[in-house]
């Protein structure tokens, strides 16, 4: 415990230099701007910025990316409140009560409330990150090849199940497509080239950064240009900074949403939007005034913003301890960490424990900067929204090309970006979620390698995949998740629960 505090103190002190503070300031401002602009997502911002961090020292590079990530999740609430258009998908729930507050002439107060709730949400998440990361690392050290196989499969399945907006089927399909993309290139067990068709550039596989820039950048540009939404923000004339009492009365909501957001963050690939909606739904369920939700409820706005920001810290738990991304943006962070020579996973706490606490320090600094800028520069940021979409999307398109090229300075990555841009656009238009696709690309190698290595160790015997205790639990979760997504099984399960609870009630009554 004391060691952790010392490492955290050292982590904060490490960044309290001119370079560190400068990076926090510009990256947070950029992140807020990305979040404010509808169409630019946190994942896209982080993916585009990876290119600009190549020449930086590793910790400063990750600090910069973390500030952009957190800033864009913070900033997304601005447009949700002012325009009823979420700046990022994570802020969709915030528009339900934020926009009605803006229509009542309380846009400034709503933004202040959202900013403060976001800060508190991140702080709850940071607390759990500091508490759970070392514990999870200890558990993960007992993981073998069988457990890692199930973990990879669990990541893709749960992400597909929870992020498929239309039907879980589309989430699963997106996940399988991502896993198949990961099969391209030289496989890790026997060094055999798969699906390269003689193209030498494919032998190293599909690089995640250009793929993400395409799937989240170009695809989003095409979608925004197609929709052509006109933006007219409501004006801000009221008080921005909320009073202590106005927040304190919702301490239960803040704590509950922070916990929900953190645990949603831990689930691989699920992301900030699910964190916001789950927290919002829970707040409405436990609220004394549920009828006010959707009409400008302070509690609803606080729940959504606390929930989505807590996900960021929560997502860092599996990212750092298992190298399993908690969200799509965290998948890019993993790629960036590898680029900068940091290897996330169970060994990180042993090999480089200081880095884990540096990440906590990064989150704290980014949160503080967001609070400061979020409350003081509200009126200035609103001007960003008035930039016409066509000009902005053109500039982002140039950045997508240059960003994907700069990864390895070869045109092949630009072709990958373009291919994923088109694929991502088509899939999005047909309501396929992007998170399972990304998670599939990231986890494909883990799944493939561990399945075949495990089978190799047992001479083709599958038994250890089902009999080892952690494997068995993970297997049950995966099978249960798949079964519950089948409508007939779901209905049968509900009937069974109803029958059992009915019987229990009847027994209780008698």
């Amino acid at each position: 415990m004391l060691d952790g505090l010392i490492l955290l103190g050292q982590g904060i002190a490490y960044f309290l230099t001119f370079e560190g503070i400068f990076n926090v300031v510009w990256a947070t401002l950029l992140g807020l701007a990305i979040g404010i602009l509808p169409g630019l997502t946190a994942t896209m911002g982080v993916a585009l910025l990876v290119t600009l961090t190549y020449n930086m020292e590793p910790a400063q590079a990750i600090l910069t990316l973390m500030c952009v990530y957190l800033g864009s999740i913070f900033g997304g609430s601005r447009t949700a409140i002012l325009l009823n258009i979420p700046g990022t998908p994570a802020s969709a729930a915030s528009s339900l009560d934020g926009y009605p507050l803006a229509l009542q002439g309380r846009a400034g107060f709503a933004m202040g409330l959202a900013t403060t709730a976001s800060t508190l949400g991140t702080l709850v998440g940071i607390f759990f990150l500091a508490l759970l990361a070392p514990l999870l690392t200890e558990v993960a050290l007992n993981f073998g090849t069988y457990e890692f196989f199930w973990l990879a499969l669990f990541g893709v399945i749960i992400s597909g199940q929870l992020s498929g907006s239309d039907t879980p089927l589309k989430g699963y399909i997106a996940g399988i497509l991502g896993l198949l993309v990961a099969m391209v290139g030289m496989e890790s067990l026997h060094a055999h080239q798969r699906f390269t068709f003689g193209v030498s550039e494919l032998s190293a596989g599909i690089d995640i950064i250009p793929a993400m820039v395409g799937a989240f950048g170009l695809a989003e540009i095409l979608g925004q240009i197609k929709r052509h939404a006109e933006m007219r923000p409501t004006s801000v004339t009221d008080r921005v900074v909320p009073r202590f009492g106005e927040l304190f009365q919702y301490w239960r909501t803040i704590l509950r949403s922070g916990v929900i957001g953190t645990f949603v963050g831990i689930i691989p690939g699920v992301g900030e939007d699910v964190g916001a909606w789950s927290s919002y739904a829970a707040a409405k369920r436990f609220s004394k005034k549920p009828q006010e939700f959707g009409q400008g409820s302070h509690e609803g706005l606080i729940a959504a913003e606390t929930g989505n920001n807590a996900v960021v810290s929560g997502a860092m738990i599996p990212t750092l301890t298992l190298a399993l991304p908690g969200s799509a943006a965290a998948a890019v962070l993993i790629a960036a960490m590898f680029i900068h020579g940091v290897r996330p996973g169970p060994m990180l706490m042993i090999e480089n424990a200081a880095f884990v606490y540096q990440v906590i320090a990064m989150l704290l600094l980014a949160t503080f900067a967001n609070l400061l800028f979020g409350l003081s520069l509200t009126r200035l940021f609103i001007r960003i929204v008035s930039i016409p979409q066509e000009r902005l999307m053109g500039v982002i398109a140039v950045l997508c090309v240059v960003g994907s090229f700069a990864v390895t300075q070869r045109m092949f990555d630009v072709y990958v970006m373009l291919a994923f841009g088109v694929l991502g656009f088509l899939l999005r238009e047909m309501k396929y979620p992007m998170a399972p696709l990304v998670l599939g690309i990231v986890l494909g190698d883990l799944l493939d390698l561990n399945l075949r290595r495990g089978l190799g160790l047992t001479n083709g015997d599958w038994t250890p995949f089902f009999t080892r205790p952690i494997s068995a639990v993970l297997c049950l979760i995966v099978v249960g998740t798949i079964l519950l997504s089948i409508p007939a099984v779901g209905r049968a399960g509900r009937r069974l629960v109803d029958t059992m609870t009915g019987k229990r009630r009847a027994t209780g009554n008698s």
Binding site: L177, R194, I225, K226, G394, A397, V398, R452, R453
Partner: protein
């Protein structure tokens, strides 16, 4: 409500077409994975062959594609294929296709043929003018659009070039 039913019917038809593509893709991947070398000469255990996981994944893709196809077939509703193809003849579709075409011309044609800064400026100017003044249903002040397109193209084109090529020392094509 009728519009919602129409959208559902269009979505179902899109899902049906996607399902066909997914099944074909799954079968093709399965074939390539099945015919992948088994590396017997290297005494590789059959349970660790390189094609094992792609075979399993492609089989699942065929299954999921089939399920999607069945689901889409059942929920086609009263709409027709003509309604479905009408989606591609809207202004929205034209904007998306034009944007994609311009990005492809920029990335595959202009970059490398012109210096990067010039290619970016040309792309930005044409992109903004096309989207703001040509493919729009709104009243346009053309001189204003041309001025703003020029300013954005010059400032952003030069800015991006300076940032990447000069500050971050990326050897741009």
């Amino acid at each position: 409500m009728e519009n919602q039913a129409g959208q559902q019917s269009t979505r179902a038809r899109a899902d049906l077409l996607t399902a066909v593509v997914l099944v074909i893709l799954g079968l093709a991947v399965f074939y390539y994975a099945y015919t992948m070398p088994r590396l017997e000469a290297r005494r590789i255990h059959p349970a660790t062959i390189p094609g094992l996981v792609p075979m399993a994944l492609s089989a699942i893709l065929v299954l999921l594609g089939g399920l999607l196809g069945v689901k889409a077939w059942k929920s086609q509703g009263d709409g027709s294929w003509a309604d479905f193809f009408a989606v591609f003849r809207t202004l929205e579709a034209a904007r998306a296709v034009a944007a994609l075409a311009m990005v492809l011309i920029f990335a595959l044609g202009l970059v490398g043929w012109l210096p990067f800064w010039a290619a970016s400026m040309l792309f930005l100017f044409v992109f903004i003018v096309t989207m703001e003044a040509v493919l729009t249903s709104e009243q346009v002040n053309l001189p204003k659009t041309l001025i703003w397109a020029s300013v954005t193209a010059i400032v952003a084109g030069a800015g991006i070039y300076y940032l990447f090529a000069e500050l971050f020392l990326v050897r741009l094509p």
